[in-house]
Amino acid sequence: MKFSDETLLAYLEGSLDEDQCRAIEAAVEEDVTLEQRLMSLDPFAPVVKQVFEGLPADTPQVDLPEMVAASPVRSSGGYLRLIGVAAATAIAAVALTLWATRPVEPGWAEQAAIYQSLYVPETIASLNSSQQSLDAQFEMAEEKLGRSLNRDALEALPGLELKRAQILSFKGKPLVQIVFADAQGEPFAFCVIRQGPAAPNKDVKQAVLSGLATATWAQDGYGYMLLGSNQQTNLDGELGVLRKTFSG
C-alpha cells in the first residue's frame, strides 16, 4: 500500500482514524523505507531534539578505574601477534606500576577535611549567626539537599553553638557544611552530601584526615561526616546523637 506524505503527516499529527493508523503501523513493520519517510516527516522530533540535545551542558564526569591489563590483541599473524602480546604485556606492566603508584584522588570527605582544616576560631567568630540568617541558610541548604537537616537536634548538641550552614558542591553534588563553635570557640563541623539513590550505604568509619578527627557514614543516598575541632580526639558524643538523628 502506498501512503502519501499528506497521509503520513496526518498520522503524525494524530488526525487519522484508527483503521488508517493501524494500516500505517502494520506497513512500517515490513517497510524500512516507509519507516524512514515517516521519521523524516515527524514535526515533533526536531523540536524535542533541539530542547534536549544540549543536555548535559558539560561532558559528564565519569570515574573509571585505570586501564590495568590489555587483553590479547585479536590478530591472525603469528610473528606480529607475538610482538603484539609482548607489547601488551609491557603496557600492562607499566599500567600496573602507574596504577599502584597513582596519586589517590581525594574523595568528598578528604576534600571537606582539607577545607575544614583551614578554619580557625577567627573564621567563625565574626559570622552572623542570628536566627534570621540561620533560618535562611537552613532553608536554602535543605532545599538544595532535598532533605531536612533536623536543626533542632543540631542546636541541642551539648557544648556546641550553631554558627552557619553553608552550601558547597563536590563534583556537582550538593554538599552542606554546618559549622559550630565549641566551648573554646574552636570550629567543629558536620557535613551532608547528596550522593544519589544509587550510592551504597556505609557504616561509620573514623579516621584522622588533614589532622582532624573525622567520622563518616552513608545511608539512603546521603553521605555524612563529622569533623572534630582542633585537638578533639573523641567524637562519640556527637556521633551518637547525629547517627541516630540522620538514620534515614
Partner: protein, 178 residues
C-alpha cells in the same frame, strides 16, 4: 595487525563518545539529573566489567543504553520513584532554559516539562527516537517491545506534546516546505 583495538579500549572509547547520550537516557528514565549522574557512572563501570562480552564494536551506544536501562529497572527504580514521590519532584526545567532569549527559554522549559511529565514508557521512547535518532525498529530492539508499541507510544506522546508545540509546529512545517 597493528592498531587493532581490544574490547576494553573499544568500551572506553564508547563511554567517552556516548556519555552525554547515556546521561540523557538516564534523565529520561529517572526524571532527575542527580539520578542520571549515578546511572551514567554505574553504567560505565558495568560496561567496563563486561567488555569481554562485546563481540561487535558497532552500536556500542545501544549496548550502553541497554545496560543503563537494566540498572535503572533492577537496581534504582523502586528507590528513586519512592523518593521522588516523597519529595514531589518537579521537572528541572532550568536545565534547558539557559539561552539569552527569554521567549525561547520559556518555550524550551515548556517542552522539557511536557516531555518529563510523560509516562516513563513514552518518555524513554521519545528520548531514543526523537532525540537520539534511533529508528523505530532499533528502539523496539533496545526496549524489547514490538515496533507497533514504539509507534503507539510515540503517537500518545505526540498528542500530549501537541498543545505546547502547536505554535512551533506551524513554523517547522513551513520551513520544511510541507
Amino acid at each position: 595487525m597493528v592498531g587493532e583495538m581490544n574490547s576494553e579500549q573499544a568500551v572506553r572509547g564508547a563511554i567517552q563518545m556516548h556519555s552525554k547520550r547515556v546521561w540523557r537516557f538516564g534523565l529520561a528514565l529517572s526524571g532527575t539529573s542527580d539520578v542520571a549522574d549515578d546511572l551514567l557512572q554505574s553504567t560505565c563501570l558495568r560496561a567496563l566489567e563486561r567488555h569481554h562480552q562485546v563481540t561487535s564494536y558497532e552500536r556500542l551506544d545501544s549496548w550502553l543504553m541497554t545496560i543503563c536501562r537494566s540498572i535503572w529497572l533492577n537496581e534504582v527504580r523502586a528507590r528513586s520513584v519512592r523518593r521522588a514521590q516523597a519529595l514531589s519532584v518537579t521537572p528541572e526545567a532550568e536545565l534547558v532554559a539557559t539561552g539569552p532569549d527569554s521567549e525561547t527559554n520559556i518555550f524550551a522549559a515548556e517542552v522539557f516539562t511536557q516531555v518529563m511529565q510523560l509516562p516513563e514508557a513514552q518518555r524513554e521512547t521519545v528520548m531514543l527516537v526523537f532525540v537520539e535518532g534511533y529508528s523505530y525498529r532499533e528502539a523496539a530492539a533496545l526496549l524489547d517491545v514490538p515496533i507497533g508499541t514504539i509507534m503507539s507510544r510515540l503517537s500518545n506522546a505526540r498528542q500530549k506534546l501537541k498543545t505546547v508545540m502547536q505554535h512551533d509546529l506551524a513554523d517547522t512545517a513551513r520551513r520544511s516546505g510541507k
